[in-house]
Amino acid sequence: MKDRKQLSVSAIKDGTVIDHIPVKSLFKVIAILGLDHIENMMTFGTNLESKKLGLKGIMKLSEVFFKEEDLNRIALVAPDAKVNIIRDYEVVEKRLVEIPEKVEGIVKCVNPVCITNNEDIRTKFELVSRNPVGLKCHYCEKITDANNMVIISSS
């Protein structure tokens, strides 16, 4: 089985594997999922060869499981990510990620004179276009797109 072969590099017993992450988004995914704040065993790989992306990143997270809505948030920076849920060394579920209609508290508004960049306010956006990504700020109504998307790291 293909998944077996791939996972044998550093197989995890139970947990989540996220594959096909664009190299430039690896650290953004870490920030979005708040992985820098948990103490589980995790393996991150980057600049691995990929037919689809050229180079890709991958992460294997032992004993870590996510709610679907939390995982979907990474679609902002890794729209082609493939998620495998592992139980007892077997892939028990495969998921793709999808950008949610409402994006809260992950992305910084591109508008420097937006109230959210001047006062401590959780950002809120409405998804107005999927490909390329366009997010409309709930407050200033300006569009933040993929080119100027800055991820607010969770803390």
Partner: protein, 302 residues
């Protein structure tokens, strides 16, 4: 609209606009009433805008309401670093409705989420100024007898002018034909043109401000500001092109009205003021009735 904040022109439906305009007509007939007696309206002006503030305060005072607030953040706790959140929460306890003007975009939306009373946006940076749009619509309907099927010419800075953008969004619900007259650098942004395309509405773009205005029902003038140009030579070239002079109105419709959101600098020469087609001073007065209608509708007093 009862109890509902007015932050963006898109917050209200077409029916709600029309209700406000009908009510404004009533207040025009009888602007002095006691309907707001016992009510306190806070006007929080984080940047000076004397005309807008006086218009709101006159609207409220004439209906017997009381005003609290500030018009200059230099003398308040705001300068000591109090957050907008805290100010709004505190002022909510002192008032029945908050009118806010703030230089940061989205500030009024945020205020409306923090406040326990309704909030009316009196301008949040370059974003929204919905009461201006409603008073523009009131002026258009009053002078043309309808909002449907009009030729509206917008002149000047169509790129940064938030009043023309909001007016376009609102009037796009009324089978309007738009004409945009502006220098190349200040053209109407594509997203608004796309909006009109999506609705199947016609628009025409012109660079020259000439006798094409003979078909106009409404001529909406705006100011072309020097600081909007990346190249000062470009500004020098166009600065006198988008100025309305009295003789230019000779071959226009008898029913044409000239509107301007004010303040005016030089984009309408003073000889136009005496022309019966000049409507901008009355337009400003209409702001009082429109704001009376907005405040009393939100407070459910009609």
């Amino acid at each position: 609209m009862i109890g509902k904040s007015l932050v963006s022109i898109n917050d209200y439906t077409k029916d709600e606009y029309l209700k406000i305009l009908d009510l404004a007509a009533k207040y025009e007939k009888q602007p002095k009433q006691t309907i707001l007696q016992g009510y306190v309206v806070a006007t929080l002006f984080y940047e000076p805008s004397t005309r807008t503030r006086l218009s709101f305060e006159s609207a409220v005072n004439q209906l017997g309401g009381k005003i609290i607030g500030f018009s200059d953040t230099g003398t308040t706790s705001v300068t000591k670093g109090e957050t907008l959140r805290d100010t709004i929460k505190i002022v909510s306890n002192y008032s029945d409705l908050i009118v806010i003007r703030h230089p940061l975009e989205g500030s009024a939306r945020f205020a409306s989420e923090v406040a326990s009373v309704p909030v009316v946006n009196a301008g949040d940076g370059a974003n929204q100024h919905p009461t201006q749009t409603l008073l523009d619509m009131y002026s258009i309907r009053k002078t043309q007898g309808t909002l449907d099927g009009l030729n509206i010419f917008m002149v000047g800075d169509l790129k940064y002018g938030r009043t023309v953008h909001s007016l376009l969004m609102a009037m796009s619900q009324f089978k309007t034909t738009f004409h945009f007259i502006s220098p190349e650098e200040l053209k109407m942004p594509d997203k608004y043109k796309q909006h009109l395309n999506d609705l199947g509405l016609k628009y025409h773009e012109h660079k020259d401000f000439t006798d094409i205005i003979s078909e106009a029902d409404i001529l909406y003038m705006t100011r072309v500001q020097k600081e909007r140009f990346s190249d000062p030579i470009e500004y020098e070239k166009v600065k006198n092109v988008y100025i309305l002079k009295n003789h230019m109105l000779e071959n226009t419709k008898d029913s044409l009205k000239v509107l301007h959101p004010f303040p005016r600098v030089n984009e309408i020469t003073e000889d136009v003021d005496e022309n019966t087609k000049a409507y901008y001073f009355t337009q400003a007065l209409n702001g009082v009735y429109t704001r009376q209608a907005i405040v009393t509708s939100i407070l459910d007093l009609n």
